[in-house]
Symmetry: C2
């Protein structure tokens, strides 16, 4: 019997992972991997960090090379080779060698499509300009590095994950960086409140933010590029980074009449098979299902891409032992200077956009024991189903321990845990690592308190002057940063000063973090007041 011919198009995360797993499952198959770019298996996610020199050595980004794939995996990896046509009837792919400008048909028994995604280019006048860059692979990175020098002006358009990382690293290289963001805050994935610490970090490093704005035109004077904004402002820059999102690179799949989703992603089943069972697809190019609610979703991240590639190989060789891809949750994180922010599952913005009902709980607490040196505050929001208390998603921001809480909550969400369940997660506690009641537990407590009717929360200060604001912080703090219209009655003397509060008007209690205001609201509620507590405290409202 002839060995099975496996052809892989796209040689980075999904494609290389598929090839690697396929080889481990089958020593005899002939595995050929076709990559249009100069490199296979590189660390896309590390690209921004070499621009700023935080990853000092370029070589570490090339996780594998064609030579190492050959030696380790007996995979025939060909770079600078582009698949330009799939002939499904004859099960072959036309491949153009970009170096030698030759073409050849390569036959397959099984084909893996892992072409990934490409940066979205807006239809703006002047956008095709050598000063305007996108960042997807090592060659893009090399060009950005070559075209930048300390002191230059850079404009980053789009403040998602890649835009933020690139802005930080350009600043690290010594450029003067400005960010233009269409929406009202950076990191549109998370709620405005969670983005504030990121914006503070950017501002703290002198990176200027242009929010609720967008570029309408680029003008090249030869020496400098002018970015005209919708607001009428003009930003001048030697270099512009476009990071406004990506789109799946699925022209080849479309031409081959494979089924595509609404936004152009390749549709696959739970074993990553496309509409042609001999063709698998994985990674940024595909649409899988939402792990929580079902329904099509595309999560363009490294973890899903790698694991989807592996699932496809398992389906091909492990038969009945193969396990389906369970869908994507959407867990993501970004570091901006010393602040980390991220989310898992359904964010508040996504729930709102989908018109779903949700409960929301925001708490602040220390990332490890408050009394242990180096303790840092983090803010955690959990979103839950108001009927069942089942967790839907979480958002977190802070300088330490953000990744840990997102991972715990990603696990809890995957397990369909409720807010009650996370009250009693038994997490590792010694002073350098956590707290006896971790912030995840606290979020569970606070959510249960809401569900049990022990507390009513508001997420912003009341606009209505009829509502009394009682600031229960200590007097020195309250005096130093007073809340407009609030009466200061510190929590420690609240019980003795109830007569200072008007029983006929609603009350909102506020404090720095949302904890003492909750305590105060319990006192007031049991004393007959109509009271709400400002969730998350004042700290989260302050720019």
């Amino acid at each position: 019997m002839n060995p099975m011919q496996i052809l892989v198009i796209g040689g980075v995360a999904a494609g290389a992972s598929f090839a690697a797993r396929a080889r481990r499952l089958d020593e005899t198959a002939k595995i050929t991997l076709i990559e249009r770019g100069n490199d296979v298996s590189f660390a896309n996610c590390g690209l921004p960090y070499h621009i700023g020199g935080e990853i000092p050595v370029r070589d570490v980004l090339a996780v594998q090379t064609p030579a190492s794939l050959k030696a380790m995996l007996n995979v025939d990896a060909r770079t600078r080779c582009e698949a330009i046509r799939i002939d499904r009837d004859n099960k072959r792919v036309l491949v153009r060698n970009l170096s030698e400008q030759t073409e050849e048909w390569i036959s397959y028994d099984k084909l893996m499509l892992a072409p990934g995604a490409r940066p979205r280019i807006p239809a703006i006048a002047g956008v095709n300009n050598p000063r305007i860059h996108t960042l997807r692979n090592l060659s893009d990175m090399d060009r950005i590095i070559a075209d930048t020098a300390p002191g230059m002006n850079a404009v980053v358009i789009g403040a998602g994950f890649i835009g933020l990382e690139t802005a930080e690293q350009l600043h690290r290289k010594g450029l003067k960086v400005k960010i233009v963001q269409k929406g009202p805050h950076v990191l549109p994935q998370v709620d405005a409140k969670m983005a504030i610490p990121l914006e503070n970090a950017l501002a703290g490093h002198g990176i200027e933010l242009f929010l609720n704005d967008e570029v309408t035109q680029f003008e090249d004077s030869g020496k400098i590029l002018s970015c005209r904004l919708a607001s009428g402002k003009t930003l001048k820059a030697e270099i512009v980074i476009l990071s406004i999102g990506i789109e799946p690179d699925t022209g080849l799949a479309r031409d081959a009449d494979l089924k595509l989703g609404k936004r152009g992603h390749i549709v696959v089943n739970e074993f990553m098979q496309t509409s042609d069972p001999d063709i698998y697809a994985a990674g940024d190019a595909v649409e899988t299902t939402d792990r929580f609610f079902g329904g099509p979703v595309s999560v363009a991240l490294g973890g899903p891409a790698n694991r989807q590639g592996r699932v496809a190989a398992d389906h091909l060789f492990l038969r009945e032992k193969a396990r389906p891809y369970p869908g994507s949750l959407g867990t993501a994180i970004v570091r901006v200077f010393d602040v980390a922010a991220g989310s898992t599952g359904w964010t508040e913005n996504r729930l709102k956009a989908a018109g779903r009902q949700y409960g929301i709980t925001t708490v602040n607490d220390f990332h490890h024991a408050s009394y242990f040196p180096g303790t840092e505050m983090l803010t955690l929001t959990i979103l839950w189903d108001p009927d069942t208390g089942i967790l839907l998603g979480a958002e977190a921001v802070g300088t330490q321990g953000v990744d840990k809480r997102l991972d715990v909550l990603a696990t809890a969400i995957t397990a369909k845990m409720t807010v009650e369940d996370i009250c009693h997660l038994e997490l590792a506690y010694a002073p350098p690592f956590g707290s006896a009641k971790d912030v995840v537990n606290i979020a569970g407590f606070a959510a249960c308190n809401q569900r049990d009717g022990l507390v009513r929360t508001v997420s912003r200060l009341p606009a209505n002057a009829g509502v009394q604001i009682i600031d229960v912080r200590g007097k020195p703090v309250a005096d130093a940063s007073p809340v407009p219209g609030a009466v200061n009655i510190p929590m420690t003397v609240l019980r003795d000063n109830l007569d200072r509060i008007d029983r006929t008007r609603p009350v909102v209690t506020v404090c720095a973090l949302g904890k003492n205001s909750y305590f105060a609201s319990r006192v007031l509620k049991q004393n007959g007041f109509d009271v709400s507590s400002l969730a998350g405290g004042l700290s989260t409202l302050i720019k």
Copy 2:
């Protein structure tokens, strides 16, 4: 109606948490808290760190004081007051004021017993000596600080969590520290292999370890204390720390005829009620149920104590909304210099001792992207049910990210996830925080590979000379630290050198971390060899 009289015995973790939650649920109750020691609500877990000065300010350890409990919670907290008798018939407790040497009966409607545990004192000749200390509260800590000075010799007896932390901090203070440990390795909770990095860290700081040894006698010469060991050795010290474990402080409960467990813990139901429904108990003094298998268990840690206290208060006031305590898992972690180690759920030692069947998987991987600066290796062991693949427990050791993996796995174990489920946990990945395939995913992959018959692992090098050891590390490494009896065939050239391996004899493949040896075992297996892979690699076997 008279306000409810609530009396709390023991004012630190469980007791104070109960009182705090009770107050938030009921403003009217009269809450009295009796504490024998000088302090309420202090951070026991921080005590070791003030000895070495890592927590420089003593005050931060007093999380609350009687005055702050009064102000914040309207709780009447009385220190230096000891409950000496419970009169259940008349629902009152005899309390002795240790300062004034007076006694008084205090009545209760509901009583909370949170007396905690006390250090175990072995019956050894000479053990009652002012140079011999235990560490449980601030007064103990103050005495240890007063009695130590740089240059002194200290012997720490018992290398569990508290012993290790105290040894580290005495070293930090400049003492010459020796540790005596009865068992074959430090941190008896985890497997020997996982303890090696801790032992290396201790040795690296000049802390001498006396394993498989124990003190049989103390002799005080006046100027120095001699600890005679079973091995015949004698260790001389100015100060000795006894940290060989704890026992529940439940004499009062016993005298009151409350039901106790086999090892003297107070037996409670899932709402923390003792055999007397008007008496609750929580914390180190109680026996709850094992969260996984059921059955009585006592997990003497801060998290369970705090949450148990809260559950009891909920039961008292929230009625049908109260949720039961779900049992304890046993999640613990310790830091020793730069190494962290811990476990969650059923450890290998515990499974062995209980005679339960288990599957075991050990992997090593980087704590965040391998190409990102500062990446550190960690070792993760997962234990699982061989029939169902359901996770039973996990152990982890490393310098970074150990707490995160334990927390994720604690959550997964709580959710009764299988090794298949953790393959597809979607954890937060950006280069500073994780990897596209986190070590938790890798552990899932490796366990599935075992279950699917793709690999057979061994946990130590074969003793039988008939087994061929194939070392697949690169030649320079293999030459520098050869494995006795092994043949070196680097993974990269394995496929071309199969004829160097004897097909008639079993093979064990080895490498540094267990990854390449797995890759090699796949090649050999598919080529007809009888092959096993050394799980976790050589790194975990090296002292």
